[in-house]
């Protein structure tokens, strides 16, 4: 199919290429690098929280800088680029076009990311990945804050360029014989998420500009001392970033739609219900942003509207889960590594969704608000669902990219460690939140239940770390010395793939 690495090529040839699989490979390598950097930051945070008192990080400011960089890295530099990697590899092939609609724009969109990452990593801002005013306007130290704002600005433009490319490629460049209803669900997931980005991202772009001019003293949009309203920033922020959750999860679900039918050896149960669920999720993504802000003094009416708007996502999410279950029914399921990640991701998606229902309900939200419950919920969703889908798909793409097979045994060990580690870490964080521990704190008092649960969470994080080290070693070793893959049927599933290896697009 794509086979980017089978014949050795100079690195610069890949770096300066505009071919969709080369750009996809760049996205993939960069996103995995960012995942390991962001993961190392997470481990440092968990070592610090292992017990009360100073363990590793000397002061609260350094801790704040670290969790800001961790969140920004994982969301903007790992998850979004890894989705773009998959889209670049497969969307043109799925819609039977020679490349992305605008290949040069595609390469530019990728090359905007490393400088933005440098701004984020070298600046190390300390206001969290949401940069809430008034702290971010009045007190956050320069130039870290400005570097973060410029970095995010560049990443936002990159996302918009990438989304324009996906939308045009799917809607305008698909083969004339292919109706929109025949477009595979993975491509549909990119169409849905790209449209969400185009609708949501400009709002955050405006908010960042307002934040910058506020910091420069030219305006006072969010500065209470100048008559501004910090809550207005939260509205602008969450108008973009609640839909952004769907931007992250929809491609991951699309990836599961690729893996589950192949490894169940059955076609997707209902293509049309998958499309309908993507469209519904894209719409309701914009009906729920203020459920993040119940504690800001909103009226009862507003809270009720946003509670119902949030719960409206449940039927569409359930449609996906039913579709997966119905596809697996009567199949002959091969539990190779990609399938284990996909099924594990569905199980954790369900658990994370149940926690989301609790968060969205205003009576219960006041109990869990700003507690470790929220940290557990968010991470269960982002790691347990989105990263599980993505990592499973990396295993799935591996033979197509390298022409070799990864070690199946170590792939399964990686999955088991990640699944067990995720359950220990993120479920315990939920309970810790109910025991009252607030989020974003550098140290905590010596309360027995808090100490034992924090230690358990850190142990869970270490288990995930061991799995990720195995993943890295497996990828590097197998790329160089793995067994040559049978490119017609690398996973030994029988049948035919609908985008066989022979359909790869020639380089240009």
């Amino acid at each position: 199919m794509v086979l980017a690495l089978a014949k050795a090529r100079p690195v610069w040839q890949i770096m300066f290429s505009t071919h969709h699989t080369d750009v996809g490979l760049l996205y993939l390598v960069f996103s995995l690098l960012a995942m390991f950097i962001g993961g190392a930051m997470a481990i440092a945070l968990r070592v610090e929280l292992f017990a009360p008192g100073i363990q590793l990080i000397e002061d609260s400011m350094s801790y704040n800088r670290l969790f800001t960089a961790h969140g920004t890295t994982m969301i903007f530099l790992f998850l979004l680029p890894s989705a773009s990697a998959v889209g670049n590899y497969l969307v043109p092939i799925m819609v039977r076009y020679k490349d992305m609609a605008y290949p040069k724009l595609n390469a530019i969109a990728f090359w905007m990311i490393p400088p933005a990452a440098a701004l984020v990593w070298l600046g190390m801002a300390d206001f969290g990945w949401y940069a809430n005013p008034p702290y971010s306007v009045i007190s956050a130290p320069a130039p870290a804050a400005e570097m973060w704002i410029f970095g995010l600005k560049v990443l936002g433009v990159s996302s918009i360029l990438s989304s324009v490319n996906f939308v045009v490629t799917i809607l305008k460049c698909k083969h004339p014989d292919m109706s929109l209803g025949k477009v595979p669900l993975l491509a549909w997931s990119f169409l849905s998420s790209s449209i969400i980005v185009l609708a949501a991202m400009p709002t955050f772009a405006a908010a960042l500009l307002m934040l910058l001019t506020d910091r420069l003293g030219a305006t006072g949009f969010f500065n209470p001392a100048m008559g501004g309203d910090p809550i207005a920033y939260q509205h602008l922020f969450w108008f973009t970033f609640h839909p952004e959750v769907y931007v992250l999860v929809i491609p991951a679900i699309g990836m599961m739609y690729e893996i589950i039918p192949r490894f169940s050896r059955r076609p997707i149960f209902s293509h049309s219900s998958g499309v309908a669920a993507f469209v519904i999720l894209s719409l309701v993504a914009f009906a729920s942003w203020a459920h993040h802000m119940y504690a800001t003094g909103m009226s009862f009416t507003e809270k009720t509207v946003f509670m119902i708007g949030t719960l409206a996502a449940v039927p569409a999410s359930a449609m996906h889960v039913f579709n997966f279950l119905a596809t697996m029914w009567n199949g002959r399921i091969k539990f190779a590594t990609p399938m284990m990640w996909a099924v594990g991701g569905i199980a954790l998606f369900f658990a994370a969704g149940a926690g989301g229902v609790v968060n969205s309900a205003m009576p219960l939200d006041f109990i869990t608000h700003d507690s470790y419950w929220v940290v557990g919920h968010f991470h269960l969703f982002v790691f347990g669902t989105i990263a599980f889908g993505t990592i499973g798909f990396v295993y799935y793409l591996f033979p197509y990219i390298t022409g070799r097979m990864y070690s199946e045994k170590w792939g399964i060990v990686h999955f088991i460690l990640a699944f067990v580690g995720a359950c220990i870490t993120f479920f315990t964080q939920h309970i810790l939140g109910l025991f009252g521990m607030p989020r974003r704190i550098y140290d905590y008092p010596e309360i027995d239940s808090w100490i034992s649960m924090n230690a358990l969470i850190s142990v869970g994080a270490m288990i995930i770390l061991v799995g990720m080290v195995i993943f890295l070693a497996n990828m590097i070793y197998s790329t160089a010395k793995g067994k040559p893959a049978n490119m017609e049927d690398p996973f030994g599933l029988g049948g035919k793939y609908y985008y066989p290896y022979a359909q790869r697009n020639p380089h240009h």
Binding site: P267, M307, I308, I333, V343, V358, M362, G494, G495, Y498
Partner: protein, 86 residues
């Protein structure tokens, strides 16, 4: 299938209509408290349904994973394995 779909929409609409009045702001303190209690009550019922359905689905998935795995002695080749497009 489409009849079930349409029936589901009608039932869902009938369930939603009585709750719409809750959306509008309460004007007096007493009314506010009543509506807050109603929201709690509605949510409690929804959670009960959601967790029961969730438990059934999660159980179904665990059973499916065991029953339809390749190594199960009862596993049979699907019609799509040799001839169809997966």
């Amino acid at each position: 299938m489409s009849k079930i779909f349409h029936l589901s929409i009608i039932i869902a609409t009938l369930c939603i209509i009585p709750t719409i009045s809750l959306v509008f702001a309460a004007e007096t303190t007493g009314e506010y408290l009543d509506r807050k209690a109603e929201i709690w009550n509605l949510f409690f019922r929804m959670m009960t349904v959601a967790f029961v359905v969730g438990g059934v689905i999660a159980g179904t998935m665990v059973w499916q994973v065991w029953r339809f795995r390749e190594s199960n002695p009862k596993a049979k080749p699907t019609p799509y394995e040799e001839k169809g497009e997966l």
